[in-house]
């Protein structure tokens, strides 16, 4: 190896630490016998792969409204979630890029008493933005904020199984649950459960003082939020960026234009219809992650004709999921199989057989139910999910070939979740998904859940749900969740159409590691995890 080649190697390793400029690097590359273009290419590749400090990222979010606030009782969509939960705050735990659970503000956690008692030990020496130490007291107040009769928190139901929380010394928090839950640490990673300072025994959310990688500098609801680096952040070296600005760009075309002209470095929810054009731009990278979110058509199993399992089965065979994935979601979706557990989730098992469009089978089940023809109403609106109305039209066509007459009723978008969902016998619905099988099933399929959208009450399923939750033997749990996914597939009233992909687009200037699938925008934590590869 010649001297110049050696220097070139050394320089490559220094790029990642931001210690070599592009110009110097290209000089070394020329000395080592490379062309300008080749060394420039190496510089960009290496620089992007290694996190480096500094930079100001402008992130275009697909949501944002003037009613947004930093109150964690709300956080209705990706703007507030990514800016105020992901960038500004921490929970006790977080989900990593592989879907596993990691301690965040907690240092460790362990369960006892059949997963009924959970002890979280806090990390030592962590402070809030104002310098105050994080204590167990703060954690207790922050959790209580989402509990009790008069809470306005949207996450209230997640903590319903918690019977008591107490601080055991300044660094230990003990949760006592009504029944065992082996996945409780996953629930603690929910974006609502951020840790806030306790003032007079109450969580103080209004000051915006949190523990996260970024400190809030300026927030204009519905417009933008600017945050700057927290120099005392407890994670070594993080965050990489000096400043981030979240910009609310709800208009799809405006979002695409802002990225194309370089006015933002990232946009959430790229326009699928024009994605092909965006791909041609060499400065832009598109990230597609199969998330946990899924689109469903719940049938109310307490109302005729859906009270008959054979009718439900006929409906499940009368829908062309592949066509819906291709035509409505333009291929940016993964066909589902009437179980709400996404492939990326632990204990996922694809039930047999795969439900697809098969008029023979649909007619067979219809006949088994003692019917020749069937007429049903399907209530849809794009408020359930963008494309629901079009999906209804496709379903009408395929079902007609099975002797099922689907009357697609277009409902008002306003107050859809209030007037249609859980009210009409068959409608369209959307779930952003949950990080564990138990969590998803408990919210949308458990007999006693207020969001059991198909009103399905299968005794075996509910028995397994409770058993599996408290079971700590992994193999036994896997078997139980396997059976539950099969039961949901065979018997429940929920038709799960497809799992959605998170499609985002960004300038190649931004660097990142593996992208987490649990929520959009790298599990909402992109501000903490991403970096500027070149300023």
């Amino acid at each position: 190896m010649s001297e110049s080649e050696y220097k070139f190697r050394v320089a490559q390793s220094l790029i990642g630490r931001g210690k070599v400029s592009r110009r110097d690097f290209i000089h070394l590359g020329l000395a080592a016998g490379l062309t300008v273009a080749a060394s420039d290419q190496i510089f960009v590749t290496v620089a992007r792969a290694q996190p480096q400090q500094g930079g100001f990222a402008k992130l275009g979010m697909a949501h944002g409204a003037t009613t947004d606030s930093i109150d964690p009782a709300g956080y209705p969509d990706t703007f507030t979630q990514t800016a105020f939960s992901g960038a500004m705050s921490n929970g006790l735990t977080e989900v990593d890029a592989k879907g596993g659970i990691q301690p965040d503000l907690a240092e460790s956690f362990e369960s006892s008493n059949g997963a009924k008692t959970w002890v979280f030990k806090l990390r030592k020496g962590v402070t809030f933005h104002n310098g105050k130490k994080v204590t167990a007291e703060d954690v207790v107040s922050s959790m209580r904020y989402h509990m009790g009769v008069d809470t306005k928190s949207a996450a209230k139901s997640l903590l319903e199984s918690v019977s008591d929380i107490k601080a055991d010394g300044p660094e230990t928090v003990v949760f006592t649950l009504n029944s065992g839950n082996a996945d409780f640490p996953y629930i603690m990673s929910d974006y609502h459960f951020v840790i806030m300072p306790s003032v007079d025994g109450k969580a103080d959310w209004a000051s915006g003082t949190r523990t996260g990688a970024f400190v809030l500098e300026n927030f204009q609801p519905g417009v933008s939020a600017k945050l700057k680096r927290n120099p005392n952040y407890f994670k070594n070296g993080k965050p990489y960026l000096d400043e981030v600005e979240f910009i609310a760009i709800t208009d799809l075309a405006a979002r695409m234009a802002a990225l194309s002209t370089g006015e933002v470095d990232y946009i959430g929810r790229a326009d699928l219809k024009t994605l092909g054009m965006l791909k041609r731009n060499p400065k832009i990278e598109i990230i597609e992650v199969t998330g946990y979110g899924h689109y469903t058509l719940p049938m109310n199993v307490t109302i005729a004709p859906f009270d008959n399992p054979d009718v439900r089965m006929a409906m499940k065979w009368a829908i062309d999921r592949q066509e819906i994935a291709d035509k409505i979601f333009l291929g940016h979706a993964t066909v589902a199989n009437d179980s709400p557990i996404a492939p990326a989730i632990k204990f996922y098992k694809n039930p047999e057989p795969q439900h697809r469009f098969d008029p023979e089978k649909a007619r067979h089940y219809l006949k088994k139910a003692g019917m020749e023809k069937l007429k049903v109403d399907l209530s849809v609106a794009d408020a359930a999910f963008a494309g629901a109305v079009d999906a209804g039209a496709l379903i009408r066509e395929t079902a007609a070939q099975c002797g099922i007459d689907v009357n697609v009723v277009r409902e008002a978008e306003d107050a859809y979740w209030d007037n249609v969902w859980l009210k009409k016998p068959w409608c369209a619905s959307y779930w952003s998904g949950r990080a564990t099988a138990d969590w998803m099933f408990t919210q949308a399929f458990a007999a006693e859940s207020s969001w059991n959208e198909s009103f399905w009450k299968n005794p075996r399923f509910n028995e397994l749900l409770v058993q599996a939750r408290a079971e700590t033997d992994e193999a036994k749990r896997a078997a139980m969740y396997g059976e539950m996914q099969q039961l949901a597939h065979d018997d429940s009233g929920s038709i799960v159409l497809v799992f959605n992909n998170f499609v985002s687009a960004q300038s190649k200037k931004l660097g990142h590691g593996d992208v987490a699938p649990n929520w959009e925008n790298d599990g909402l934590k992109m501000a903490e995890r991403w970096w500027m590869a070149e300023a």
């Binding site: 409204a65 003037t66 009613t67 947004d68 606030s69 109150d71 709300g74 209705p76 009769v149 008069d150 809470t151 306005k152 928190s153 949207a154 996450a155 209230k156 139901s157 209004a206 300026n218 204009q220 609801p221 519905g222 417009v223 933008s224 910009i247 609310a248 760009i249 709800t250 208009d251 075309a253 405006a254 234009a257 802002a258 194309s260 002209t261 006015e263 933002v264 041609r280 731009n281 008002a412 306003d414 107050a415 979740w417 209030d418 007037n419 969902w421 959307y430 207020s450 969001w451």
Partner: protein, 350 residues
Amino acid sequence: MRLNPVAKTVLQRLGLGLITLFVVSIIIFSAIAMLPGDFAKATLGQSATPETVAALQHEIGLDRPPVERYFSWIGKMAKGDFGSSFASRTGYRRTVAEIIAPRLYNTMFLAVMTALIAVPLALGLGIVAALYRNSWFDRVVNTVTLTTISFPEFFVAYMLAFLIISRDTFAGTEFAQSLPVWLAISINWTLNVVPKFPTLANINDQTPFWDHVWRAALPSATLTLVIVAHMMRMTRAAILNMLSSPYIDMARLKGMRPMVVVLRHALPNAWAPIVTVVAFNLAYLIVGVVVVEVVFVYPGVGQLMVDAVRSRDVPVVQACALVFAATYVLLNLIADIISIATNPRLLHPR
């Protein structure tokens, strides 16, 4: 006592204006009350449980009957208190005034900026078009302005944004490669002559003045294209109407230059219809620009009102509606005053 006709009109119109505002507030309030859902349900969405909805409704007073809510709102309103947004929480008050003020400033900024460009442009074009009636210039101006007014404003807005994007991407498109090289190069050159205006007009209270102007350039250009035709054509028509009067023939016979005839003789008598149309367009610049605001992500009152309607934030919707109604009333009043002031027969009635 005989009132000056201007003062009389002002008083009369202000009184009527107040009644209009009152009626508007009732209509808006009942319209929102008739919409399905309320703030608590809209905010909590899919994740609402009956208990959390009830707790939130109680906190913002939605559990009281609508008539009572309306009267308590109008009572405060009469004292100049716009109230608080429903997004307020205990210990975190967000008054309607502080929510609307920066948005109203942005809207006014855009409206004034556009008016400063569009009104002189429209009047100038209209006068010149009248002067050289049926010339090539007249025809071209008419065709171009009619074209821009005929397209929906969002289309004009997207086309402008597309032009800006094309600056960087045109050379790489298949379309450009299919063109003869000289043509592709000259199109690319033309595109790059246009400054790279930002397609994202997101400004906040810390944006410096000139940066604000720069960021508002595309929205303002869109609105100018949309409103110029109306004002320009009215100017042209009103002046042409005057030009056929005997006193203009007299002026011409005296040997006055055509420009002087138009500016000194025809224009003063043509003001009334022109001012009415200008006022109408200015009002549109304030109350009707929500589509342009959305396309360029410009935080104005229009977007605020749409947001507020979606979340059923009644106090904010009410305040926006009143601001819009007041704008119409005041601008029409100003137009009438100018019409009277420029017309001696109305100013000094016998």
